[in-house]
């Protein structure tokens, strides 16, 4: 049994995955990826990951996130991120993750 790391909320045309951890790092990257792949396999092709609770992201977690995006794209779906804090937002811009993912300031009504 693993610790509970995500919480899901169904929206009109996408699934919101809220991260319940403050440090998104190597320790949880693998579990995150496998839980996300399960969600994708259950037909949730459009997912927005909510980073509201997250203070720090390391490269292992970013790797897991991109890997999930690639799976989503393989299913003709998409993965976006929302509510990045200032540091994480800066990092996304700095390494061009903002061109890889759609970045929402807040959880949108629809995935567009």
């Amino acid at each position: 049994m693993n610790r509970i790391m995500i919480e899901t909320v169904q929206h009109s045309n996408y699934l919101e995955v809220k991260l319940l951890i403050s440090e998104a790092n190597l320790d949880i990257a693998e579990q995150f990826k496998s839980e996300m792949l399960q969600l994708l396999n259950r037909g949730n092709n459009y997912i927005i990951v909510n980073f509201q609770n997250v203070i720090y992201v390391d490269s292992s977690f970013l790797g897991a996130l991109v890997s999930v995006l690639k799976h989503a794209m393989g299913k003709k779906g998409d993965l976006a991120v929302a509510e990045l804090n200032k540091d994480i937002g800066n990092l996304f811009n700095l390494i061009r993750m903002n061109k890889v993912f759609k970045v929402y300031n807040s959880i949108p009504d629809v995935f567009a």
Partner: protein, 380 residues
């Protein structure tokens, strides 16, 4: 120095025992996390990974064996040394505990100093075993000539080129560095970071390096020295490789023309270069547009050209260099902070050593949370 203290999770429903051991172990330099039930212990484990667990066997609701089973099922926790602490001396139960890969059994009537010695011995033995395993794997990698970082930088006439590399907790990691000099006229400078840490990332760094080296050589054969075109080719091959399809890497690729000082730069999800201009006496960040390798067919790889003049200095860094501790003990990535720190160190004759002494000091190394790499280039 709370961070260097060994963390111990103590689980016992008897608060007296819990208090006694917490007090004694804290005095001995342990950082204690006391829990008076398995439920509370599980809550603690959601946020803390202890170095060792000391747990009572007989407890109401869930007992020590239930707890051990829980720990064994969690990949993050199953390798933490687990010691049963109990007043129960039934041999059958002791055997059952040891069968569940508990490393030892300590009777509660054992004097506290002896318990502490025992715990220290267990931690010491495990750390020695660990060092030995790492040493053996390293020796094997060296025997196979598997290196993700060169032994020495090349010597270039008219330039000073050097690098710094420190791996996370001394494990080989995902950062890789290479220099390829062609006909004493051109030098390709490579810094990459395979996402992930420790062995997994280290292993894949060789695959990436092999592709990068081949792509550079093949392009040079065709007299194609364009860094963006090389990056496009590397990205295409990586996207086709089923083994690497789930692995991602950053890459900074520079091509220096020795004679002119012209530097061509293309990057893939890398951090901006830090360029010190001696004429202007200022620092600028040079950012590329390219995406991480292995994400999309069109990686948007552009090519920037800067000309190095006498006294100009350039830094290429991996993301470990911009990670800092927050006031609350957590971590943060802060490129701006790194950039402003570099203002004090660049522009001096001994800039490389200044950076080395500060950012790669023994003190700073303890705070490292990732591989750290830095390449330094100066035109003399």
């Amino acid at each position: 120095m709370l961070e260097n203290r060994k963390k111990i999770l103590l689980v016992d429903d008897d608060r007296m025992v819990l208090q006694l051991f917490s007090h004694a172990l804290t005095n001995e330099g342990f950082q204690c996390f006391p829990a008076d039930s398995v439920k509370e212990a599980i809550l603690i484990l959601a946020n803390e990974i202890p170095d060792i667990i000391l747990s009572d066997y007989l407890m109401p609701d869930q007992d020590g064996f239930d707890f051990r089973k829980y720990v064994l099922l969690d990949k993050r926790l199953k390798n933490i040394p687990f010691v049963f602490l109990t007043s129960y001396t039934d041999r059958k139960l002791m055997q059952q505990g040891l069968d569940m890969q508990a490393v030892d059994y300590i009777d509660k009537i054992t004097p506290v100093p002896l318990v502490i010695s025992k715990l220290n011995n267990i931690l010491h033995t495990i750390s020695k075993e660990h060092e030995k395993s790492i040493y053996e794997i390293r020796a094997a990698a060296e025997a196979l000539n598997l290196r993700s970082v060169p032994a020495e930088p090349p010597r270039l006439d008219g330039y000073f080129l050097n690098f710094l590399y420190k791996s996370f907790e001394d494990y080989p990691g995902g950062d890789f560095i290479d220099f390829i000099t062609i006909d004493d006229k051109y030098t390709f400078i490579i810094l990459g970071d395979v996402m992930g840490k420790k062995w997994g990332a280290w292993f894949f760094s060789f695959n990436f390096l092999s592709y990068i080296r081949s792509a550079i050589r093949l392009c040079v054969f065709d007299e194609n020295f364009s860094t963006s075109s090389i990056l496009h080719k590397i990205n295409k091959v990586i996207l086709m490789d089923p083994v690497l399809s789930d692995v991602l890497s950053t890459l900074t690729l520079l091509m220096l023309e020795h004679e002119t000082g012209e530097l061509h730069y293309s990057g893939a999800g890398d951090l901006p270069l830090v360029l010190f201009s001696a004429n202007e006496n200022e620092l600028v960040a040079v950012q590329s547009a390219g995406l991480l390798l292995g994400v999309m067919q069109d990686g948007l790889y552009d090519e920037k050209t800067v000309t190095l003049n006498k006294g100009d200095q350039l830094l290429v860094v991996s993301d470990g260099m911009i990670e800092f501790s927050r006031k609350d003990g957590g971590k943060k990535s802060d490129y701006d902070l790194f950039f402003s720190q570099m203002k004090s160190y660049l522009g001096h004759e001994n800039s490389f050593n200044l950076i080395k002494d500060v950012t790669f000091s023994a003190e700073r190394s303890k705070e490292l949370i990732d591989d750290c790499s830095l390449i330094f280039l100066q035109k003399n």
